[in-house]
Symmetry: C2
Subunit: 245 residues, 2 copies
Amino acid sequence: MIVSTAAIVVIGNEVLSAKVTDENGPFLASELRALGVELRRIETVPDEIPLIVDALKRCLGAAQWVFTSGGIGPTHDDVTIAAVAQAFDREIVADEKTLALLRARHGDKLNPALRRLAEIPRGATLTWDPGPGPSYPVLSLENVVILPGVPSLLREGFLRLRDRFRAQPFYARAVFLSLGEGAIAEHLDAAVARYPTVAIGSYPRFDEADYRVKVTFDGRAEADVTAAAALFCARLPAGAVLRQE
Amino acid sequence: MIVSTAAIVVIGNEVLSAKVTDENGPFLASELRALGVELRRIETVPDEIPLIVDALKRCLGAAQWVFTSGGIGPTHDDVTIAAVAQAFDREIVADEKTLALLRARHGDKLNPALRRLAEIPRGATLTWDPGPGPSYPVLSLENVVILPGVPSLLREGFLRLRDRFRAQPFYARAVFLSLGEGAIAEHLDAAVARYPTVAIGSYPRFDEADYRVKVTFDGRAEADVTAAAALFCARLPAGAVLRQE
């Protein structure tokens, strides 16, 4: 089992201009977490090739897997393929299988715009839906996976490839407290110092929740996660821990 | 009226690890759009000072205003103040008014962790809630606004400052079509070429919606937005436009 990291580039003026609330970042974050992949960053950028290329290069330097969301299609604002090709210094070529499918589907209505759906960076891998019926390919190039922006299509496309990302799982514990953050900070520091491989987070609530702070412990070594939570709880005054999960 | 741009840095392991779905990016995107501010990027990064500093510097280079979300508080994972101070090469100092409030609130329970709530980068501006009762200050330093990660607090803090970001408003039109993207791409290209200051987006649907593509036209000059939409619609075959908004 490998320890694995990822980054996401969300491409979409519609997200930045608040026409749409991005569902794809949260979906991928949740899936990657369940697979044991540590998500290191999400960048949401406009439909502009230089900004996408810049984000891709940074994400490639920060993580093993990079997922793009959006910018796939036949119109002027679909520039993700061009950006990925540029990031890897590849030319754009037509994929013959996709072109044959497009010819079968559109016949003499296959115009230059629709032909763009067959464009791939040279050397890209195409993963087809194993089921019957019409399908679109998910493109990947080296460690970049290119997913469509429509949430239902992104989900379906990601699930085709999901198993290849599976890594050593995370173990997680959460402790719910009756104390505020100021009263627990030194005990958190003690746990952080003792268990450096455990990610410890402290999340206060200021609403009507039945607790004041939720403290989370996450790591790949179950024994360390359990021990860090136990060390922290043992340092707290009686009654501070309301419950654990 | 100025033309204004912004970027957002969301700081939070809890978002990247899918413990929480970020509400603050979408809230700020929506508010900024309504104010006429063009959002150029959102970066979601871990609670790690070097990565926050790097994101801040990039965002400062890309936009006039930068908003940070999260990482404010008394615990080990609250590192935003340190990162902003480092990005501007400022030292961290205690704000005396905040410290006096903390002394009044916590008395002899004011420990080193709680004192961290009074830390600011030297030269930061504090904006207090004008209402009665307990309050926290919103910090800003030059063109960076530092907002808390708890959504209710972020919203309230942003609203204190909102009017200073108001810029020339956006005008928007949307056209809903019975045709697919392949059939409209050349007409979009014509409108894009003729009206370069209008942002034109094409958003297909593949579900049970009553249209196949929504095309959006956005810009600061109302006449250009209207003309771009009219040019596009005039090129389409009869019956293609289902409705406009």
